[in-house]
């Protein structure tokens, strides 16, 4: 699904609460609002979501700016708000943190968020959970 950035922010929340489906949203393009695009993707299962990786790979190959990637951690009661991938060093099973790292290498300012079923957002990076970014004037 394609949305302009202005459309998508509020439209994303209902998707992120589906307990059976992990949903991704990748924001691409130089600007927010009508100048940018948000691309919502899902693999229609609760544990993985390949669409964001395709979008990210396209951006990296074509030098198309990727601003942020969000995805949901669905669940009926048990869900996590921290990124997966803490065990990567031990098992080489990539998770959210490694996905973030592969994007940060090309787009260091990209932000990453996890949405819980309570529609709360949690920031993370390739290092793990992060506090929300702060604007300094």
């Amino acid at each position: 699904m394609l949305f302009t950035s202005a459309q998508s922010t509020n439209d994303y929340y209902p998707f992120s609460t589906d307990p059976n489906m992990e949903i991704g949203r990748t924001s691409v393009g130089k600007t927010e609002g009508d100048g940018g695009l948000n691309i919502n993707t899902t693999s229609k299962n609760a544990g993985q979501q390949a669409g964001s990786a395709y979008v990210a790979a396209y951006c990296i190959r074509n030098n198309f700016i990727l601003r942020s990637n969000d995805h949901s951690h669905p669940g009926y009661g048990d869900y996590t708000t921290f990124p997966s991938g803490f065990d990567y060093d031990k098992t080489k099973k990539p998770g959210d943190m490694q996905f973030a790292g592969s994007i940060e290498a090309k787009f260091p300012n990209a932000t990453f968020r996890i949405y819980s079923p309570a529609t709360k957002e949690y920031y993370y990076s390739s290092f793990g959970p992060e506090p929300p970014p702060v604007n300094i004037h």
Binding site: G47, A53, T80, T81, D87, K90, T91, K93, F99
Partner: protein, 168 residues
């Protein structure tokens, strides 16, 4: 004790196969010594809960599914990230900094603890892990499958913070 011996055999099972191949080309394999740790009784309840959770998963196979524990230390507490794993997938590059313990018939792969007076104490035992040399594919995507638990250790007690189990 029989269970422990059996689990070590599982760890080395794949290695026995690898040994047969390595006779043709020894350059293809490396061996690693993994130190064994003893886990404190204070963690038994947590470990039981994790094993019981994982037993509810339809994909769970007690002979293959084991667990990793990754520690993140903060000033006032230590977060312990548990995840299920397959012993065959242990990363050879991590072997210098990991240890293991066995509890209730399951193998837990841990970071070698920096704090020696903690929940894990070193023993003199080691096991040999033989792994094939290969180039890992670095293709990342959003993958939250499996089970994960976050426990927080603070003031000598361990509490569950979050868990997500049996994700396919």
């Amino acid at each position: 004790m029989k269970k422990v011996a059996f689990l070590i055999a599982i760890i080395l099972n794949g290695c026995n196969n690898i040994e047969q191949h390595s006779m043709e080309n020894d350059q293809t394999y490396n061996t690693y010594k993994i130190p064994r740790f003893k886990v404190d009784m204070a963690l038994y309840t947590v470990l039981d809960d994790i094993i019981n959770d994982e037993n509810t998963c339809t994909y769970s196979n007690p002979y293959k599914t084991s667990f990793t524990i990754t520690f993140k230390e903060y000033d006032e507490f230590i977060d312990m990230y548990f995840a299920n794993c397959n012993l065959n997938s242990i990363n050879p590059n991590a072997c210098a900094k990991i240890g293991y313990f066995v509890y209730s018939g399951r193998v837990f792969i841990i970071d070698i603890p920096k704090n020696k007076n903690w929940l894990f104490t070193a023993t003199n035992d080691t096991t040999i892990l033989k792994k094939e040399k290969r180039t890992e594919q670095e293709a990342f995507y959003i993958n939250d499958t499996g089970s994960q638990w976050l426990y927080r250790y603070k003031n000598k007690t361990t509490k569950l913070v979050q868990k997500s189990i049996c994700k396919n």
